[in-house]
Symmetry: C2
Subunit: 151 residues, 2 copies
DNA sequence: GTATTTTATATTGTGCACAATATTATTTTA
DNA sequence: TAAAATAATATTGTGCACAATATAAAATAC
């Protein structure tokens, strides 16, 4: 009887593990982000803006680059965040091709509430000090992998 | 000047790394799966079926469980695979609530072509023998994480 | 200085992902 | 055994993800 090829088994595939882990992790964020009225990708965009500073002016392309997403994903996402009142989208008068994204006051205020999210998440996950080592190791390996996957 | 909180930085967030890694990995699969006329989630479903054996009868729920996806994702995906001719969807006469999913001959044949995908992928990634250790370590840590994320 | 090319963003279309709800069949209970 | 509860799948609606294309502005070439 021919054996089923090992490398084709779901359990042996890194990609499926990444896919599962990513979705499971996002699921853990969801109830926390619901309270901020954000989806996970929206939260990512807000983090890019918060991290760039309250007065920062980012282009759509800047945000796409940092998150490795394309305009087809980001443009409508930014429109929804603008509709929520968290940011403004204004065409740059200096270069009419560009659209400048800036935090509104409400978008800035949201950061205060968002700061609690990472800690709350750890708590929900039940992370102890002894897990820190594994966590750091995992993040190191993931960084290497992402690096290699993008050449 | 108040320092920006470390734990809110994108680079320090495991979830973003998982999200990036998962998308980057799927991107690497895409050109290979295009040749099989499959998307990555469709490829996952086919792997579940192949792994269960050519004659296996799986319910929609079985597939949802193995991939940790819900029916809202899987039902239309199965319809597309059925339209491609890779599987059949037949309501179980024993229990009319259930829908039995079975591979067609064409779906079985596709496995032969799919067997090349994992190796081709490694090749594209430029994986060497010395990477095996890191790979095993990463997969171990990911398995642990997924396990914990689903209680 | 106009034509060409490049750059930045938007639009369209398909396929997930998932919450919420609906539908229908089976099982359990009163 | 009729009603209630449970189970299996489907449907609906919103929001990504991304390829392909469109649009328009700026840069460059000629």
């Amino acid at each position: 009887m021919a054996k089923y090829p090992e490398q084709l088994k779901l359990d042996n595939q890194m990609c499926f593990l990444l896919y599962s882990a990513s979705r499971s992790m996002t699921r853990l964020y969801r109830p926390l982000l619901d309270e901020l009225n954000l989806t996970y990708p929206q939260y990512l965009v807000m983090m890019v803006l918060w991290e760039s500073g309250e007065k920062a002016k980012l282009s759509v392309g800047d945000i796409c680059e940092k998150l490795m997403l394309d305009t087809g994903t980001v443009t409508p996402l930014l429109k929804r965040l603008a509709a929520e009142g968290y940011l403004t989208r204004i065409r740059d008068p200096e270069d009419e091709r560009r659209v400048v994204i800036r935090l509104t006051d409400e978008g800035c205020r949201l950061r205060g509430r968002a700061e609690a999210v990472p800690l709350q998440l750890m708590c929900n996950l039940g992370v102890s000090d002894s897990d820190t080592e594994n966590r750091d190791q995992l993040m190191g390996l993931l960084k290497e992998l992402v690096c290699r996957l993008n050449q």
